[in-house]
C-alpha cells in the first residue's frame, strides 16, 4: 500500500432526497489498524455518512476511496466484495433466519465452499454463535445480536468495517465486551469507523475521533485530546436546540 488511507472520504455531500442534503461536505479518513469514532449530537449526519460510504445513501458530490481506489457510487451489494463491511444500527441481523443462515447471507459474495470455510473460522472466533447456529437470530440477546451482526459482516474479511451505533441498547457490560471485540478487529488489521452516541465510551476505545454537527466537520483529533477538549461539550449542548428536529440519520 502506497501510503493511502484505508478509507478516505472527501467533501461528501449526500442525503435521502435530492436537493436536500444532510451532509454538507464531510471529510474523514481511517487507516488500517485504527479505530475511529464519529461523534456528534443528534441529527449531525453521522449515520448518513456511514450509509453513504456503504452505498445505501446517494452521494451527490465528493469522493470515497478505499485503499486509494475510488468506490464512490458503487452499488451497495458490490461493496462487501471490495472489502467494506457495514453493520447498521437497527435491523442488523435477519431475525427470521437462523444464525447459520445469517452467516450464509454475509457470505453471498464468496463461493459456496469459501463461505462455508469462512463460517467455520467465524464459529471458532465466536463459539457462542456455533452453539446456537440453528436458532433463529430473533431469539438472541442484544449483545449476541451485535456479535452476530459483526460476524455476518466479517465473512468477506473487510478491510474497512463501518459500525453504526453498535452499543445502543446494550448493557454496560455487553457494551464493554463489544468494544473489546472492536479493538480486536483493528488489531487484526481492519480499519474501523464507528458511529457512537455515547461519545466518551467510544473515544476511550478509539485512536482518533471526528465530531460532526449539522452535517459538517467540527473537530477532529486523537481520542485522548478530544476527551479532554471542553469544546465538545459545547457542541453537544449548544446544538441541543437545533437537535430538536427529527434525527434524520436514523
Amino acid at each position: 500500500m502506497s501510503g493511502d488511507h484505508a478509507l478516505e472520504a472527501v467533501e461528501i455531500i449526500a442525503g435521502y432526497v435530492p436537493d436536500l442534503p444532510i451532509l454538507h461536505g464531510v471529510s474523514a479518513h481511517v487507516d488500517a489498524g485504527e479505530v475511529v469514532s464519529m461523534i456528534g449530537p443528534n441529527g449531525a449526519g453521522k449515520s448518513t455518512l456511514v450509509k453513504a460510504i456503504a452505498g445505501l445513501v446517494q452521494i451527490s458530490s465528493g469522493t470515497v476511496r478505499l485503499d486509494g481506489r475510488d468506490i464512490t457510487g458503487i452499488v451497495a451489494h458490490k461493496l462487501p466484495a471490495d472489502g467494506v463491511g457495514y453493520v447498521p444500527q437497527i435491523g442488523n441481523v435477519f431475525a427470521t433466519l437462523t444464525i447459520h443462515e445469517n452467516l450464509i447471507m454475509g457470505g453471498a459474495p464468496l463461493s459456496k465452499s469459501a463461505a462455508l470455510e469462512r463460517i467455520e473460522e467465524i464459529y471458532e472466533m465466536y463459539p457462542t454463535l456455533k452453539d446456537k447456529r440453528h436458532d433463529k437470530a430473533g431469539v438472541l440477546s442484544g449483545g449476541q445480536r451485535q456479535i452476530l451482526a459483526v460476524a455476518r459482516a466479517l465473512l468477506t474479511r473487510p478491510r474497512l468495517m463501518l459500525l453504526d451505533e453498535p452499543t445502543a441498547g446494550l448493557s454496560p457490560m455487553a457494551a464493554g465486551a463489544f468494544f473489546d471485540l472492536v479493538r480486536g478487529l483493528a488489531e487484526g488489521g481492519a480499519a474501523v469507523l464507528m458511529v457512537e452516541q455515547n461519545a466518551k465510551a467510544a473515544l476511550r476505545v478509539s485512536d482518533r475521533g471526528y465530531v460532526l454537527a449539522e452535517g459538517q466537520n467540527r473537530l477532529e483529533g486523537f481520542a485522548a485530546e478530544l476527551l479532554a477538549n471542553e469544546e465538545i461539550g459545547e457542541i453537544f449542548l449548544g446544538l441541543r436546540r437545533g437537535a430538536a428536529k427529527p434525527e434524520a440519520s436514523v
Binding site: H77, P88, M105
Partner: protein, 303 residues
Amino acid sequence: MILQHIADGILSGAIVSLGAIGLSFTMKLLRFANFSHSELLTWGAYGALVFLAFFASFGGFFDRTIGPFSFGVALLLAMICASVVTSIIALVLHRFVFERLSRTAGHMTMVFASFGVALVLRHLVVLIWGSDPIYYSNALQFAILLPGNVRVMPDQVFLLGLTIIVVIALHLFMTRSRTGIAMRGVAENPDLARVSGVNVDRIITWVWIIGASGAAMGGVLYGMTVQLRPELGFSLILPLFAAAILGGAGSLYGAVLGGLIVGLSENLSVMIIPTTYKPAVPFLLILAILYFRPDGIFGERSR
C-alpha cells in the same frame, strides 16, 4: 357430505396455494398488490394448451394417457414449457412496467399499472383463444370412491400430489440453497441483504420465476380438473389475495396454508350460505384478517 366438501376444499385450496406463493412474495418484496398476478394462471393454462398440441402431435408415447389419468406425458411436458413461458411474461412485465414504476413512481402507481396489465393479459386470451370453455382432454375418468363416500377424480389426486411435491421442493430450496436463503433474507430486510452482498435484483428475478411457475402450474391444474376459460385467473383474484394476506406476505408456508384455508372455507361455506354467494367468502376472510391486523402483514416488517 361434509367430508366431500373438505376433500373439494383441499383440492381447490391446493390450486390457490400454488398461485398465492408468487403473489405473497411479490407483495412483500416489491411492496405492491399485484392485481395481474392471477392472470399468470390463465396464461399458464392456455400456454400449456399450445404446447400440449405440439407434444401430442408426436403421437404414441406422448399422446397416450397414463394409468387412470386423463392426460399423458405431453401435458406434463406442456406444463413445464408453460411455466417457462409464464416466467418470461412475468419478467418482461417486471422489466418494462413494474420495475420502472417502482423507481419513478410509488407503490400505488404499480397497483394501477397491474389493473391495466390484468386487462390486457385477460383480454388477449379472449382474442387468441376465444371465450368458450376448453378442455385439455376428453378422456373418460372414473371417480375413486374413498371411505366416507368421498369421490375424487384421479386427476385430482395428481393435483394434490404435485402440489405437495412442489411445496416440498420449494421448502428445500428456501432452506438449503443460498439463493433461497437470500430470498427469505431479502423479504425480511432488503437493505441488510444488500450490504451483505446480495444482489437484490437477481433475487427479485428468482421470485418472479418461482411465482410465475407456481401460477402456471396452478392454472394447468385448474384447466385439468375444471376447465379453461379466460376468466380462470380473474375469478381467483380474491382467493389469491385472501391466501397471501392470511398467510402473511413473503411466507411460503403462509401462502400454502392460506390457500388451503381459503379453499376449505369456500367449499364448507355452501353448507350455510347459498352457493351463488361462494365467491364472496375469500373477501370475508380478507376483511376478518385485516380487521384484526389493520396494518396487514406489511406492518410486521422487522425493520
